[in-house]
Amino acid sequence: MRYSYINPRKKSVFTKEIQLLFTFFSVTLFMLFSTYAFLIFKDQRFMQEMSDIKMQKEENRANIVKMNSEIATIEKQLLLSEKIFTKNSVLRDSINNLFDLVPSRITLSEAKIMENALILHGITPNKDVYNFMLQAPLRSIFHRTYSSFYPAQNGWLRFVSTNYIDNEEGLSSEE
């Protein structure tokens, strides 16, 4: 026996309200979990990047220390080489000046240049030429000058001139 003219609709657990609720919460939970996953992923990336940066910084620091040491070595080399080159040039000028000091009438046969002394052997026509033309300039350069003469075969005089520069310490100790 039928009590209604329409057919009964099928009943389901998933009513429209439940479907709406599930849709809403699914979207919400998906967004929450995806945000969480993004944060976890970024966290990992940050850790990786931090470790890379730390390594690069260490490398850079080591490089800088190495380069600083190389720069210091080169500067030290330059300083010493400049000092040596200057010393050689000064020596060249000193020897040049020494030979320029000797007048044409006096002939040198031997010259020995030491750090604080100069020994000259040579021949001079007479003592006056030696005294005025060589000893006088030598006296202005050196602190102590000693000369000795002995006759040469041609009537000229052979001389030995020994000249010393007293260093500062020597002078102060003498005083």
């Binding site: 439940i18 944060l39 931090m50 850079n60 080169i74 030290k76 040039s89 060249r92 031997e110």
Partner: protein, 178 residues
């Protein structure tokens, strides 16, 4: 009085309440602290990146200085690395002398962090000018050489016999490695 809520609605409401509580708890207990941590780490990474950039710039600056020093002074740098060779020295400088002989002496020790050894030289020159030219050439040679006292000149007919010592300076490590 009868309740107007059906059983289904009560289930629905309970589920809704449970999910809402879960969303709130998850957000406040996990997401927000994690987000704060993310912001902090991002700031820290930015700072570290800036420091790295400054350090890199400084390293590049140093490299440029080093490169310039090396380029400008390659002669002196190489000269300190070269070990003294009597034969090569003679070959390079015999033009200044009529005769040249070199005796290598034992090592003197260290000076300013460089190893130094002394070389005795006897030579024959036609005029002092040759010696001056030699002193100029020594500064451009393949070694760092200081001409040292005593220097002696002795006339021998038309020639001048000369004798002097030279000090050769080397890098400590380059000398020990050879």
């Amino acid at each position: 009085m009868k309740s107007s809520f059906s059983r289904q609605n009560i289930y629905l409401f309970t589920l809704c309440l449970f999910l809402l509580v879960f969303v709130l708890v998850f957000s406040f207990a996990v997401l927000i602290p994690e987000g704060k941590d993310y912001r902090l780490k991002r700031g820290e990474l930015k700072k570290e990146n800036l420091e790295l950039k400054q350090l890199s710039d400084f390293a590049i600056e140093k490299e440029v200085i080093l490169q310039k020093l090396q380029d400008d002074n390659s002669h002196a740098i190489k000269a300190f690395e070269n070990e003294f060779s009597s034969d090569k020295f003679k070959k390079q400088h015999q033009g200044f002398f009529s005769a040249l002989s070199i005796t290598k002496k034992s090592q003197l020790g260290d000076e300013d962090g460089f190893s130094v050894y002394e070389v005795n030289t006897t030579s024959e020159i036609s005029s002092p000018k040759s010696f001056y030219d030699f002193l100029d050439a020594v500064n451009k040679s393949n070694w760092i050489i200081a001409v040292n006292f005593p220097i002696a000149f002795k006339r021998d007919g038309e020639m001048i016999d000369s004798s002097f010592t030279m000090r050769v300076y080397n890098n400590k490590d380059s000398n020990s490695s050879k």
